[in-house]
Every structure is written in structure tokens, then in C-alpha cells.
């Protein structure tokens, strides 16, 4: 009980459950850890300040939030809604399917699940809940769940991290993520269909076919956004992080030039609202960064990896154990920490087991993404809770079926290596 690390964990859990800001709880816990260990408490503030200052990929967050806000005040989202309703509204759970498909489109633009959730999330949640068709919690849950596809479909920041620590080819890893990403989307689509039938989500009126061209034309500027971003990224004009700013600029331009619906005061409100969301998400990220120092210093992931190593397991047993380990770690840890600290320690045993390291990389990244939607520490849950203002508990209740669907996909990904390695081999991968 007198162990500083244990006391720190208890403090963080207690503060969080008593309703304090999760980010501040992690910071306070880190401060207390340093004090109990007799270290310099400023290490926590230093880690937080340097961590926020040095994390370039995080910068996409505020700009994707801004892009979504601008799309909401302009009529882009409305036009997309009408288009989507015309297309799939007649099917049960139609907008849920739109959510899955839009995440797939978006995942091809960004390498981060968080960017996907905040980028497309606000618009689609708005669309789903506007006429009371879906509950806020269901919209938040399916948005968080589908955002996990983001870093499985290339480009992918976590896969680049994995490629570095496991000494594998980024190109082959990207190719290996393609089919698993589609499988995950399929699994969630099926789950959405099942739930829509069970909960009897309302069906929209059938839009006559002759209306389709007009509705499509009106939504065209908005539909072009992914094309422009993909073209920009693969054409070498911008990085995925910069694409966030381009998305915001494009949304603003389209709204002003084509739809003439954005006043200066609306733009100011969009800026302020996005900045406010950024600050509340940012403090959570800052807390996670700070607490990572404690976890590193305690060498916690190393002890866990060594614990796993002591059992002498078959390949299947090992893979099951790895999945369970990563799922549990993902509940409390940030994905980057898992990739950078745990993976390097496991790589030798993975190789010794004869498991392909590209295949293993996909397993690890899918697990890390699942960690983003598993409570208590699930960044995507917090973000969609923040967007909808729903209590976390209700979103958690609605997300379980999707976690099950994703675990189903994970089982296929884990035990059918040929499925994962099909595309890389087509591209010349010898594994």
C-alpha cells in the first residue's frame, strides 16, 4: 500500500470517478508520484509542456474540429444529409451505414483515429440526431467505433511507429492494413444492421430516382472534399496534418462562394467553439502525456511483457494472450505508449514463434485502436462524449456491440494471416 505507484493509481482513479477532469486527475497523480518518490515535481509540468510542444501530429485535431464546425454553419452538412438520406435512408439503419462508409472514406485521408472522429464525427452525429432518428449515445458510439478504422486503412501514423520499432516495411504494412480495415467496416455495418432491426430505427421516405441527380449536384462541393484532400496528400501538396487546414479552408470557401451562408460572426463562433473543444480535448491529451512519464519510469509495460514471456505457449496460445494483453493495456494506456514501449520487447519472442512481423503489426495496431474505444480510458469515447454532451456511461452501453463486432474481425485478422498478407504478397512481400 505504501508503494508510490499504487497510491498514484488509486488517486487518479478516485479523482476521475469523483467527477474531476480526467486530464487534470492524471496530471495531479503524476505530480503526487514525483513527490512521493522524492523526485523534482517539475518533471511533470516539463513532460506536459514539452510533450504538447513536440507532438506535430496532434495539430490536426483543432483544424479538423474547425473544418467540421464550418461545415455545420454553412449548409454543407445539410446537403450531405439530404444526399445520404436519398441514397441509403430507405434502408434500416441507413445513416449508421453512412457513418461506416464515411469513416472508410475519411480513413484514406488521415492517419489518426482521433482526427477521423473529430473530423467527420461532428457532422455525422449532427446528421444522425437532427430529426431524433437516432439517440445521441448511439450516434456517438457508432462514430467512435468506426473511427478506429482510420489508422488501419493507410495512411497510418501508428503503423509508421510500428514499422520503426519492429524494423518492418512501411509500404507492406500499409498494404496489409487494407483488407483488415474493410473487414472491420463490414463487421460494424452488419452490427448496425442487426441493431437497427432490433431497436427498429425509423426508415426515411423513399426519394424518387428523378430527384437523385439534383440532390447529388447540390451535395457535390461537399462530396468533393475527400477527393481534394486525397489528391492533395498523394499529389505531394500537403501532409495529412496540413490537410486538416485545407479541409477547413475548403469548407469556408465553398460555404461563402457557393452557398453564401457564413457571416463573420458565424465564423468567429466556429473558431471559438472549435478552440474551446480543442482546449478540453487537449488537457486530456496533456494528462495522458504527463502520466506516460510515470508509466515509463515504473517500467510497467516491460514488467508486463516479461510476465507474458515466462509462460511457454503455443503460437495460438501466444496470439490469444497477446490480444488479451493488448486489450487490457489499451483500456488504461495510450496507443503510442503501447507501440513504442511494449512492442520492442515482444518482437524477439514473436520472431521466435515464427509469427510474421507484418501480420503481427496489423494485430497490434488493431488492438491499439480497440483500446481507443474501451473504457475507462478511451480517447475516442471522451471525444464523442464531448461532441454530443452525452454521459460516458450511455455511450459505453451502446458501444459494446461494436466492440464485439471488432473483436470478431480481430479474431479473423489474428488467425488468418493469409488474409492480412494477401495484398502485401501481391506487391512482392516475401513473408
Amino acid at each position: 500500500m505504501t508503494d508510490p505507484f499504487t497510491l498514484t493509481l488509486i488517486l487518479i482513479v478516485a479523482l476521475s470517478l469523483f467527477g474531476a477532469s480526467v486530464g487534470l486527475s492524471m496530471m495531479a497523480g503524476s505530480f503526487v508520484y514525483l513527490i512521493l518518490k522524492g523526485f523534482d515535481p517539475s518533471i511533470a509540468s516539463e513532460t506536459m509542456l514539452q510533450g504538447l510542444f513536440n507532438n506535430y501530429t496532434l495539430l490536426a485535431i483543432p483544424l479538423f474540429i474547425l473544418a467540421a464546425d464550418i461545415m455545420n454553419i454553412g449548409s454543407l452538412a445539410d446537403r450531405l444529409l439530404r444526399f445520404a438520406q436519398a441514397l441509403v435512408g430507405r434502408f434500416r439503419g441507413g445513416l449508421g451505414h453512412v457513418n461506416v462508409v464515411s469513416s472508410l472514406i475519411f480513413s484514406g485521408m488521415s492517419g489518426s483515429a482521433v482526427a477521423d472522429a473529430v473530423g467527420m464525427g461532428k457532422i455525422i452525429i449532427n446528421m444522425m440526431t437532427r430529426d431524433g432518428k437516432y439517440t445521441h449515445s448511439y450516434a456517438a458510439a457508432i462514430t467512435a467505433a468506426t473511427a478506429t478504422v482510420g489508422p488501419i486503412i493507410p495512411p497510418s501514423i501508428p503503423m509508421v511507429l510500428y514499422a520503426i520499432v519492429a524494423d518492418q516495411s512501411v509500404g507492406f504494412l500499409f498494404a496489409a492494413g487494407m483488407l483488415p480495415g474493410l473487414l472491420m467496416a463490414l463487421a460494424m455495418g452488419i452490427m448496425n444492421y442487426v441493431i437497427a432491426r432490433k431497436r427498429n430505427f425509423p426508415v426515411d421516405e423513399v426519394v424518387p430516382v428523378r430527384e437523385l441527380p439534383r440532390i447529388t449536384w447540390q451535395a457535390m462541393p461537399a462530396l468533393m472534399l475527400p477527393v481534394i484532400l486525397l489528391g492533395g496528400i498523394y499529389g505531394g501538396i500537403m501532409t495529412p496534418t496540413e490537410a486538416a487546414a485545407v479541409a477547413a479552408a475548403y469548407a469556408l470557401l465553398i460555404s461563402v462562394v457557393f452557398y453564401r451562408s457564413v457571416s463573420f460572426s458565424e465564423f468567429y463562433q466556429a473558431l471559438l467553439g472549435s478552440a474551446r473543444s480543442t482546449a478540453s480535448v487537449g488537457v486530456l491529451v496533456a494528462g495522458a502525456i504527463t502520466f506516460n512519464y510515470v508509466i515509463t519510469r515504473e517500467q510497467l509495460p516491460i514488467s508486463i511483457a516479461e510476465f507474458v514471456g515466462q509462460f511457454e505457449l503455443s503460437t495460438t496460445g501466444f496470439l490469444i494472450l497477446i490480444n488479451v494483453l493488448f486489450l487490457v493495456l489499451g483500456m488504461v494506456l495510450e496507443g503510442g505508449a503501447i507501440l513504442l514501449i511494449v512492442v520492442p520487447i515482444l518482437v524477439p519472442s514473436v520472431q521466435a514463434m515464427g509469427i510474421d512481423l507484418v501480420h503481427f503489426g496489423v494485430i497490434v495496431v488493431v488492438n491499439a485502436m480497440l483500446g481507443l474505444i474501451t473504457p475507462p480510458y478511451g480517447l475516442l469515447l471522451f471525444i464523442t462524449a464531448n461532441i454530443t454532451g452525452e454521459p460516458l456511461m450511455r455511450i459505453v452501453k451502446d458501444i459494446w456491440p461494436f466492440i464485439l463486432a471488432l473483436i470478431g474481425a480481430l479474431i479473423v485478422i489474428t488467425f488468418v494471416p493469409d488474409f492480412v498478407l494477401f495484398l502485401p504478397r501481391l506487391l512482392g512481400y516475401q513473408g
Binding site: I43, G51, N54, T239, Y293, P344, P348
Partner: protein
């Protein structure tokens, strides 16, 4: 007697051969009198923050890059000058000589840290996607060359004649693949481990920087040790330097072969043309203002 606790942090991945060499050649060498705790992959302290962490007593040791000293000891920038060293042997001869004694004293006085060793981490070359061999600085005009973020690094790119672009290390692969940048300037080992050769066509062996790290210890920690303990730490640091030198030279040779095998055209540019151009640019820049009087000449003399 009490064990001496040494907390070490660097930015090299945990499973990189360099981390293993550190553990064996330095950590194990220290023996029972020391408790050496190494944290890799910038997990304990972010890249570039190790120096202040050592100064504040929150970290004992690190393996720094020379530009990490620039803010507090501007004269150190001389060691980051491209084409200063002719080759590996020249670099090793300089660090083994006494020409840097004044600079090291200045570092100890101004930055409160002591450099124990200068392990060789490799030569930097020009790796790029293009249709011709870049032979001279003029050929680099308009080439978007990724250089590490930071003023000092960026100026290396400018001095060589390119348009330097700061891209985070982890984004270099995608940036080169998409054409956001034309090339980057890592050596054979980093190029291979980061898979850059997959998206490159050429590699010109400019060896523009013969790079060494600075294995550094906080002066307060150093002074708290007995003479015997200091001698042990120094002995193991030298041991680590020798082991890492050997490993880097071997890696460069092996990985050059692998990169060539993958279809990349590895060739030798007109390095004399680069050298005269680059040193000229540096001499006229603000960077040479901080250089200690006569040090460049002394270093060059060792090479002759």
C-alpha cells in the same frame, strides 16, 4: 558501499542494436558498483530536452547530438559544420587529440555537463527520388531536401545548395513517397531502418556530416563520484565508443550493399566541389561567428 545510480535517456528505439551495445559495452561494463537504468526511444525525456534535464538533476546521462548544446554553448556549432571531417579516421583522430580541450572546458563551465565519449553514429548522405545523379551544389538547386527541424540543421541544407524542408522524422517516408519532399540526408543505417530506400532512386555518398553523438554526464553527478568510480565510468564510456564505432562501420558497409541490391543507384558525387562551396557559405554566415579562433584550421590540419 552504496551503488551509484545512473539514469540514462536517449531517443534510439529500445530494440535498436545501439541500445543493446549500450547495455553490454557500457551498462554491463560498469559492474556491481553501479545501478545503470537506461530508458530508450525518448520515452523518459523528449529529444533535445536531455541537456536541461541533466542540468536540473532529473537525469544523469544522455547521448546527445552536437546541436543540443548550441543554445547554451554556441561555439559547439563548429562540430556540426558539414565537410569538417574528411572521413571516419579523420574524425576519430580529432576526437582523440587535444584540439577540443578548450571547447570541452567551455562546455563544462557553461553547461555543467561533461562529455565522456564521442561514439560514431554514421555519415550522412543524399538520398532522393529523381532521374539524375546530383554531382555538385548547382544540381541541388530547387531540390526539396528534408533536413531535421531546427535552424542549424536547416542551414546545412541551404549551404549545400538545396531548399531545406523541416519534416518530422516519422513523416519522411510518406512525404518522400508523395513528393512533398524530393529527398532526405540520412546515412545508410537510418535510411535502411526507416525504409527510405523503398521510395528513393539515388543515394549520393556526400558524407557531408561524419556524425558522432556526445555521451554526456551531469557534472554534479560526475563530481559526486570517487576517483575510482569516475575512472570506471570513463573506461566503460571509451569501451562503448569503440563498440559503437565498430558496429556503425560494419552496418554502413552491410546496409550500403542491401540498399544497392534494392535497386538504388549509390554513387560518389563531386565532394570537393561541395566542400569548397559549403565551407565558403559557412564562413560568410553568422554560424562561423561563434567558432573558436583557429579551431577549424587545427581540425583540418589533423586530416592532412
Amino acid at each position: 558501499a552504496d551503488k551509484v545510480e545512473l539514469i540514462y535517456s536517449d531517443t534510439v528505439p529500445e530494440n535498436d542494436p545501439r541500445s543493446v551495445i549500450l547495455k553490454e559495452a557500457f551498462g554491463a561494463c560498469l559492474g556491481d558498483g553501479f545501478d545503470f537504468q537506461a530508458y530508450h526511444g525518448a520515452t523518459l525525456f523528449k529529444q533535445g530536452t536531455e541537456l536541461t534535464a541533466m542540468q536540473r538533476g532529473n537525469l544523469d546521462m544522455g547521448n546527445l547530438a552536437i546541436f543540443d548544446f548550441y543554445n547554451q554553448v554556441p561555439s559547439t556549432s563548429v562540430l556540426g559544420t558539414p565537410f569538417l571531417f574528411r572521413d571516419y579516421d579523420h574524425m576519430r583522430a580529432v576526437y582523440d587529440s587535444t584540439v577540443l580541450a578548450d571547447l570541452e572546458a567551455e562546455i563544462e563551465e557553461k553547461a555543467d555537463v561533461k562529455i565522456l565519449a564521442y561514439p560514431y553514429i554514421g555519415a550522412r548522405h543524399l538520398g532522393y527520388k529523381g532521374d539524375k545523379e546530383i554531382m555538385t551544389p548547382a544540381d541541388l538547386a530547387g531540390v526539396k531536401l528534408r533536413m531535421p527541424p531546427g535552424e542549424g540543421w536547416q542551414f546545412v541544407g541551404t549551404a549545400m545548395g538545396a531548399t531545406p524542408v523541416p519534416v518530422p522524422f516519422t513523416e519522411v517516408y510518406t512525404a518522400m513517397q508523395t513528393g512533398a519532399i524530393d529527398g532526405q540526408d540520412n546515412g545508410f543505417p537510418a535510411t535502411y531502418s526507416m525504409k527510405f530506400h523503398e521510395v528513393m532512386t539515388h543515394m549520393g555518398t556526400t558524407s557531408h556530416l561524419i556524425a558522432a553523438n556526445e555521451l554526456t554526464i551531469g557534472l554534479e553527478k560526475w563530481n559526486s563520484m570517487t576517483a575510482d568510480q569516475q575512472a570506471k565510468v570513463q573506461e566503460c564510456a571509451d569501451n562503448f565508443e569503440a563498440a559503437l564505432d565498430a558496429e556503425t562501420l560494419k552496418l554502413e558497409k552491410d546496409l550500403r550493399a542491401k540498399i544497392e541490391e534494392s535497386g538504388v543507384n549509390v554513387y560518389m558525387p563531386d565532394n570537393a566541389a561541395f566542400q569548397s562551396h559549403v565551407l565558403g557559405v559557412y564562413k560568410d554566415s553568422k554560424f562561423s561567428a561563434d567558432w573558436p579562433e583557429g579551431l577549424v584550421d587545427a581540425i583540418v590540419a589533423i586530416g592532412q
